[in-house]
Amino acid sequence: MGFDDGPYRILVHKKFEKVVRKKLPSHLVNALHKKIEYLKSNPKHPSLNTKSLNVSNAWCRQRGIDDVFEFRITKSFRCIFYVQHEQREIVLVFVGNHEDVRNYTK
């Protein structure tokens, strides 16, 4: 399912904010916040290069979401987000590098 036009509500997990402060260099924190503003107003904004992650429908249904996407802050630092299109809701679940994702889920 694609994104609808117009703004989405952005939700963050408490751990998300903590990871941002802990994991990202300060100059990337600013870049991240700029990108989140673009995401909020237009998830298809060209500067985001939003990419759908290969996750099964069953996996999404079990979690009450429609899609999983990511945008890149740098090539190694990414922001992962879950989308509920009908509620026009985006949940930012993680920001960091691949190794951080592994640690986060342990």
Partner: protein, 183 residues
């Protein structure tokens, strides 16, 4: 002048770039494109500005803001020679700053990398940058100065590894712990 505490002048940046560009390829277009990629790549990698040059977004992509005026002054001061009906530029003097070895390595790597592209490729690349697209609102508004902070969005300067995330690695969400961003 050392780069440790302050950025270099736009004239020194131009002289340094001209010293690196092959004479037969030393055109206005190439100078402008290499300056943009060198400056924005340097900011992305070193988290500091390279020079005091500003960059404007026009139909032809990002350019050094007021480059014609800057080059005219440099020609008058006998720092550069512009020939072939204003198409080719060569340096007559050397830049007067000192790079740290790390800054020099980063800058030279960027110049070397983007020098390998032909003019059309450089134009295409510069049009696809976030800095240009955002400043021009996807090529609708021309002539604005590009905010150098937008360099931090140019993730194509990052050459580190790019791995796929598997779904087993994705975080679970607990909706009771969600809060609205920015509120």
């Amino acid at each position: 002048m050392s780069m440790d505490n302050q950025k270099i002048s736009k004239e020194d940046l131009i002289l340094y770039l001209l010293s690196k560009i092959e004479p037969e390829k030393s055109t206005l277009l190439r100078l402008n494109k290499l300056a943009f990629f060198a400056e924005f790549g340097f900011i992305y990698k070193q988290q500091k500005e390279l020079s005091d040059a500003q960059y404007a977004a026009i139909d032809y992509g990002p350019i050094i803001n007021d480059y014609r005026k800057i080059l005219a002054k440099m020609e008058k001061d006998k720092k550069i020679l512009i020939d072939n009906n204003g198409k080719h530029i060569r340096p007559l003097v050397s830049p007067v700053f000192m790079f740290s070895s790390e800054d020099k390595k980063i800058l030279d790597t960027l110049i070397e990398k983007y020098s390998q592209f032909n003019n059309n490729e450089l134009i295409g690349l510069s049009h696809s940058t976030d800095s240009y697209k955002i400043t021009t609102n996807n090529e609708e508004i021309m002539g604005n100065v590009i905010d150098k902070d937008l360099a931090y969005l140019e993730s194509f300067f990052d050459e580190s590894s790019d791995e796929e995330i598997k779904h087993e690695e994705l975080p679970e969400i607990d909706r009771s712990e969600l809060v609205e961003y920015g509120v």
